[in-house]
């Protein structure tokens, strides 16, 4: 199946923008996510991280380019694979990282790309804490704020949100970073390495849709300990 035809080239997501989606066992939602993205973006690449439920085939049928890891490597590794793939594509200028579980809004991604273009920014981070739309639970808020604190301590940037999967990165910034944290610690690592590029960045308020599905798949409290250890032990 071919992706739906682009509406007009008034869209920000045409031509030089790639959406990178790390995909691991998200069969039930990935089709909707890709379909929604296709309303605005033509180039979508999913990195099937060794899914066992056929998510990759679903994504391929939905019209995305699918790269498949032969074994499960983790979300950070998937992102890096996606980045390296996009860097080989002609005319690629922006990468949008997007979560496969449908918790991001396409409108936010579009606005972030538009902001990157108009303000000549190399990096736009999505943040759920810049306004009051997103309401995570108390425990989740504590974990996320701790993650933000650790990230700011280690990176020297002043962010309000750390583990947000929605980002826009220009390819010149992308080519300067290489993620080696395979698992969830990449979220801090990516901020650290992008910060070191000294390229202009901005945060942009986004809303996270905490559906029951994404809640069920969300990170556990114990996993934040793993992230911490991954970051300290190199």
């Amino acid at each position: 199946m071919t992706p739906p035809e682009p509406r007009a080239n008034s869209r920000v997501g045409t031509g030089d923008t790639w959406v990178v989606i790390p995909l691991f066992n998200e069969k039930s939602v990935i089709e909707t996510v890709i379909h929604d993205l296709h309303q605005e973006f033509t180039k979508i690449v999913c990195i099937d991280d060794g899914s066992s439920d056929g998510s990759g085939d679903v994504a391929r049928r939905a019209g995305a380019k699918v790269l498949r890891h032969p074994v499960n490597l983790g979300q950070g590794a998937s992102l890096q694979t996606g980045f390296e793939y996009v860097l080989t594509q002609p005319n690629a200028r922006y990468v949008v990282t997007f979560d496969a579980d449908g918790q991001h809004r396409v409108e936010d991604a579009v606005s972030m790309v538009a902001l990157a273009r108009s303000e000549d920014l190399a990096i736009v981070f999505g943040s759920r804490f810049l306004d009051k739309r997103t309401r995570p639970g108390v425990l989740k808020r504590i974990i996320l704020k701790t993650a933000v604190w650790v990230t700011n301590m280690t990176t020297g940037l002043r962010l309000t949100d750390a583990h947000n999967g929605l980002r826009v990165i220009r390819t010149d910034a992308l080519s300067k970073i290489a993620l080696v944290q395979d698992r969830m610690a990449h979220a801090t690592e990516i901020v650290l390495k992008l910060g070191r590029t000294k390229l202009p960045w901005r945060e942009y308020p986004v809303e996270l849709l905490y559906t029951d599905y994404s809640k069920a798949k969300g990170q556990s409290v114990l996993n934040s300990i793993n992230i911490l250890v991954d970051l300290i032990v190199r």
């Binding site: 490597l73 890096q80 080989t88």
Partner: protein, 127 residues
């Protein structure tokens, strides 16, 4: 007690060793020195069984067997840390390898796809 100081320093050293970025050559050399020292001490304590107790008493431990236990605890910590680190490095290598496979496969797919789209299918092309 001398032994407490030695043990605390040992544990801290392992901790620092654990978080420091790797220079694998020096690590390997340290591991080999450690092993060499271990062999010498083992031989000494077999030939002169009383030596270990004498040494233990010298640094404030009651029996040689207790000293052996403390040394084993430290050695185990070193083992855990080196094994963990090696594991991380092996995993990174696997990741790079798997990524190359993924990207190579994607490149092949893309070439095939562009071949299909630029060239009409053989059936309509032929006679």
């Amino acid at each position: 007690m001398l032994i407490q100081i030695i043990l605390v320093i040992g544990v801290i050293a392992v901790g620092i060793f654990f978080t420091r970025p790797t220079g694998s050559d020096s690590h390997l050399a340290l591991r080999r020195l450690f092993l060499g020292a271990f062999v010498i001490v083992a031989i000494l304590s077999i030939i002169f069984p009383t030596w270990l107790t004498w040494f233990a008493n010298l640094i404030g431990v009651g029996r040689g067997a207790d000293l052996l236990l403390y040394a084993l605890v430290l050695a185990f910590l070193v083992f855990v840390s080196t094994t963990y680190r090696r594991n991380v490095q092996v995993n990174r290598r696997i990741t790079r390898l798997a990524r190359q496979i993924t990207l190579a496969t994607a490149a092949i797919d893309n070439v095939e796809a562009s071949d299909d789209s630029t060239r009409p299918s053989p059936k309509t092309d032929g006679s």
